[in-house]
Amino acid sequence: MSAASSTLMLRRRVTNAVFTGFCVVVTGLALIALAAILWTLVSKGAGGFNLAVFTEATPAPHSRGGLANAIIGSVMMCTMGMTLAVVIGVLAGTWLAEYGQNSRYGSVVRFLNDVLLSAPSILVGLFVYEMLVAPFHTFSAFAGAVALALLAAPVITRTTEDVLALQPSLLRESGVGLGAPLALVIREILWRSARGGILTGALLAFARITGETAPLLFTALNNQFFELNPTKPMANLPVVIFQYALSPYDDWQRLAWVGALLIAITVLTVTIIARFVTREQNRS
């Protein structure tokens, strides 16, 4: 082996060692940073867990209380938002996959849906504020739910379209060949066989909106008390966490960590269920 080629070989080896080392080190660093965040969340949040968190309303500073009203508010708004989003998302996704396809209007809707999908959530909050809060002169849980729906619907639309597009055209043709109208084929055959994928999309959308704070700041606002009327401001976990975390009171900050842990657990559980559904789907 000549001297030139052995220096070249050496240089390649060194480059490779540096590259490999860099990859290993940054992966280690990234995992440490992310583990540190999770560890903080668990250690700070788990300490504050007790029954009162689930049974009592948000307290004034230095008094006993929990997050019950915020938890109920979040559940209510997410449920309303998801109901709206699933209806709109599944229908719109179906239209894109089965009717719109490559039409001009279809491509426009598809593009705008992608834009909405990645639009900053705070802007969705501003929009809903102007539509549903300013004209009625009151913040409301309903406005919060609409804001969440606008964030979830594009995700569901996108996944519904993708799963339906994956269904073999043989399914459609055999349905139509039996004399069924296309609407019936879509509802009874295509939706049924795409069920798992649509469910995954809905779960991911749900995971996305549970932690959303910014759009709720100007729509649902917050409420220190129990409120079940959707036309009134309603407490919700993200906004309570935001306000309590920035407060100077120890007990409020502790509750903020408990709330953050609750949200993180919800999001992780839902994401894991979604992955599980996908895997089952792929197996069958």
Partner: protein, 322 residues
């Protein structure tokens, strides 16, 4: 189960005419849903424009070049928040990109097989953690450490009268432009790493194997074969990460310091468009203040839209080729 009740129900009468009518109805319903999405996005744009119009009319183009943001004198210039948004997102991208790429390369080329799934799954799950958690971690854990180990030593070490001194000017309390950028970087890291890994997984095994077969080292395979193979998609993924950073509210609001001044130092307090809106919107003192905040939102929409359109253009091409 309801089988019994079904068998007792009258047999469905599906005549051709009724089927056709239902079909049309169903198609109409689906079409309306698709149109609702289109209406939502156009409505969003129009609402931002109308809401921000008083401010745009009053300040004109100067709105985005003026540095003063003063609710007392009713002068609103968005240069501070706009530059704050661009700087924090840019810095976050600079920091997160090499790390995210390293993680993605590690997962596709170097990771021992038994660890590949757990680490990959962990990264994906972390991408879903709400940003407010990152914000709280930044405020309570990261900021004190940052002040103690980075800010104070650097400020002490900076030679007086040089650019280093002006770059490290600020209050060493752990918040500021640089701290916010680091938290943003940590926040977009799992998302970018997961997307890049997914992209690298789409490289056909034969391509990678032939590169190894020719005697390439791991670094050569990655830098000269697999990464160029997914180049367009990778740029698109980076753009999507940037889009997230630009519009991020919660991870930033906690730690940027919330001052409207034009940021001149890495440790100075600053603001981003999203953090300004989040902080002031519900406490806006006048109609012009409100309009200025909404106009700020419009600026953010334009910036993110440009980034996303670019990302989509690049990702779209990748899809065509694959």
């Amino acid at each position: 189960m309801s089988d019994a009740s079904i068998s007792h129900a009258p047999p469905p009468r599906r005549t051709a005419a009724r089927g056709a009518l239902l079909s049309t109805l169903f198609e109409g319903l689906c079409f309306s849903a698709a149109t609702a999405l289109l209406a939502a996005l156009s409505g969003l744009l129009i609402a931002l424009f109308i809401g921000g119009w008083p401010a745009i009319k009053k300040f004109g183009f100067g709105f985005i070049t003026t540095v003063t943001w003063n609710p007392v004198t009713e002068v609103y210039g968005a240069a501070g928040p706009i530059v704050g948004t661009l700087i924090t997102s840019g810095l976050a991208l600079l920091m997160a990109l090499p790390v995210a790429a390293g993680v993605a390369f590690f997962l596709t080329e170097l990771c021992p097989a038994p660890l590949r799934r757990p680490i990959g799954t962990a990264v994906e799950l972390l991408a879903g953690i709400p940003s407010i958690v990152y914000g709280m971690w930044g405020l309570f854990i990261f900021a004190p450490l940052f002040a103690k180990w980075i800010q104070r030593p650097l400020m002490a070490a900076a030679p007086p009268g040089t650019i280093w001194e002006s770059l490290t000017l600020g209050i060493p309390n752990g918040s500021g432009i640089l701290a916010a950028s680091i938290i943003l970087a940590i926040m977009i890291l799992p998302f970018m790493a997961a997307t890049l890994r997914d992209l690298l997984m789409t490289v056909p095994p034969a391509v990678r194997e032939s590169a190894y077969g020719l005697g390439s080292t791991t670094s050569e395979v990655v830098m000269k074969v697999t990464l160029p193979y997914v180049r367009r998609g990778a740029i698109g993924a980076v753009m999507l990460g940037l889009g997230r950073a630009l519009g991020e509210t919660m991870a930033v609001t906690f730690i940027i310091g919330n001052s409207h001044d034009f940021p001149t130092s890495a440790f100075a307090s600053g603001s981003t468009i999203a953090s300004t809106i989040a902080n002031e919107f519900t406490e806006a003192t006048s109609d012009v203040h409100l309009a200025a905040l909404i106009a700020l939102g419009l600026v953010l929409f334009v910036i993110t839209f440009a980034v996303l359109a670019l990302a989509r253009l690049l990702l779209g091409h990748q899809g065509d080729r694959a």
